[in-house]
Amino acid sequence: MSPSVRLQEMIRVIRGARTQGEERGVIQRECAAIRAQFRQADNGTRSHNLAKLLYVHMLGYPAHFGQMECVRLIASPRYNEKRVGYLGAMMLLDEKQDASLLITNSIKNDLSHSSQYVQSLALCTLACMGSAEMCRDLAPEIDRLLRASNSYIKKKAALCAVHMVRKVPELGELFTPAARSLLSEKNHGVLHGAVVLITELCERNPDTLEQFRKAVPELVLMMKGLVMSGYSPEHNVAGISDPFLQVRILRLLRILGRNNDTASDAMNDLLAQVATNTDSSKTAGSAVLYETVLTVMDIKSESGLRVLAVNILGRFLLNNDRNIRYISMTSLQKIVQTDHNAVQRHRGTIVDCLKDQDASVKRRALELSLALVSAVNIRSLMKELLLFLSSCPPELRAHTTSGIFNAAERYAPSQRWHIDTILHVLTTAGGDVRDETVPNLIQLITTATELHCYTVHKLYRALITDISVQSLVQVACWCIGEYGDLLLRGECEETEPVQVTEDDVLDALETVLQSHMSSPATRGFALTATMKLSTRITHNVDRIRSIVSIYGSCIDVELQQRAVEYNALFKKYDHMSQSYMHIVVSEEGPKNGQTPATLVMDCSLCYRTSSGTGAPSLGTRLLNSFYSQAIRLLNT
């Protein structure tokens, strides 16, 4: 029985195991057998045993006892044993293992082997797991192979050199001359390796970069040859001649043309040619076009070319292939700051992509839409964003809400629009907004004095519809507490007024207080609002007192404390004027959820009330102490 059948037999047995335990048993037996075989003298089955061990390793079982066997097999003169030995080295050894140093000598010998396939094994392993010392040791060998060998070896040596430069950047100087001469090769494999090597060298060393700029005309000619050549069966992929090489040349040109006018000028025509002549109906062509666009946008290209590039991205946005839409948007994201107007032209298509099924595409479309918001398009774009918010996936909601708020803050055409937008967001996705939204909104409402009536009406309507969204409920409670008198007056210019009685308003606040959906913070807002209303309504003060006294024995400590203090106020200052009580209520200090900003705001409202009712000296005294509290808070 030929040994390799035994490998397949073992695989069959392992796959036949019905349980994890059975599999483990089989593998343990096999490993024991393999270990025993390793200890024996050479019997011609070593490579097959190692192959079995590698299979077991891939299933996730430990295989470190095979490391020395790899070293032994690599040193063997037989090709089949070397092959499996090197494979084992790449799978079981890495540069951190001590055993890897032991193969350095074998690799060195094999690099000069008479058979190119043995040389190839050594090169492959070196490029896969060569440590820094190994690279330093063997760099001269690689340099020799870069200059004098056949194309099969040259292409591998080039990529091996790339690995070495990544591990030991100083080796770049050693390889630069050889890399330069490789550019005149005809073999595509060697050319590809040379371009990758030169790219790596230029990225690491600015002097080398300067040197290779002189090669731009040569690279341009090479690229032209590929683009304009007829059908080449050997390198053709979907009508494109060697897209792999084309993309690498374009990337190298990008690095060479960056920040350099002369180099960029030299490649302008070529890039225009590639952009117009490449057929992008299949992925290969799109890959080349994509790389061309990236290059155009990164070098100092003329404006006509840039517009062409952005239009290509715009065309990509309309492509049926989701992948192409995705990369189009990632590219547009990179250039939206520098070429804002060009990208704006494609806003419609980008906004349409918000409705795409794919989550990655949606995310990209959202980022891009937010970047495209401007004073000119804020109204229409916000409509689309709000529509998106109502159906967007949960993981994007927080990002969408904060994006919408930022955009609204920067470009709001009017305060009413701003307030409407924030309220819309709170109604749709109030659970996913940032914590600062509530105080920020309160501040906004306070400054929009002409809209107090409108705002309180809107918020009251929202409150009686739904009290599950905490942020919305908190703002609504605060607003009703502050402007409840406007609500009760029953008239409003901006919107249809509601006909409510004081009982209705108190009902709404009580519902919030009693609902199990309300968080402690929300209850705090509702209680404070109820208390504030005692100075604004006339008929139902008793009801307010009873509500407040109930909460004097509430389990929540914060709520209890407030209720008790309010109760005390009611009792102690019964005979005092409305305005005084108003001031005193606010003097209680910062409430839960009140930032120093809103505190100062409350304060100024009190001052106005106190001046109006003719008790200025009293008001001023209290106010001064209150102001100093506020200042203290602002300074913490």
Partner: protein, 154 residues
């Protein structure tokens, strides 16, 4: 460059793993777990590109196998799809209508083919014909060697 290439089945069983950077064994297992969870969790007609840490992940499903690779951030994703496709074509040519079982029972050959196509995380040969010829030649060398070894010594 490509950092790694993984092949796994619909059930998450690993069929091939190639690492082009030094990664500790435990880290490798974690990456494999992350990749299988992420890729297998994708909806059928999703985009083939993902982000994971600072790498771009490109994956494609061929019959019952997922081909998944991790790339540097400046790599061209569309070209990576072509690279994966080229590897599948090479396997197909070698095994003749390749299926998952071929790769399971001949995993070492799948690795040998991969090592002729990619080196150090980069493409080393862009011509299908040249690649097929060198794979055949290496196999021939191996067979002659095995034949030689199985003959009685004299």
């Amino acid at each position: 460059m490509m950092h790694f290439l993984l092949l796994f089945s619909r059930q998450g069983k690993l069929r091939l793993q190639k690492w082009f950077t030094p990664v500790p064994e435990r880290e490798k297992k974690k990456i494999v777990r992350d990749m299988t969870t992420m890729v297998l969790g994708r909806k059928p007609r999703s985009c083939n590109f993902l982000h994971w840490k600072d790498l771009k992940i490109v994956y494609k499903k061929y019959a019952s196998l997922y081909f998944c690779c991790g790339l540097d951030a400046e790599e061209n994703e569309l070209l990576a799809l072509e690279v994966l496709h080229r590897y599948v074509e090479l396997l197909d040519k070698y095994f003749g209508n390749v299926c998952e079982l071929d790769i399971i029972f001949n995993f070492e050959k799948a690795y040998f083919i991969l090592d002729e196509f990619l080196l150090g995380g980069e493409v080393q040969e862009t011509s299908k014909q040249v690649l097929s010829r060198s794979i055949e030649a290496s196999d021939m060398l191996q067979e002659t060697m095995e034949e030689y070894m199985s003959k009685p010594a004299f």
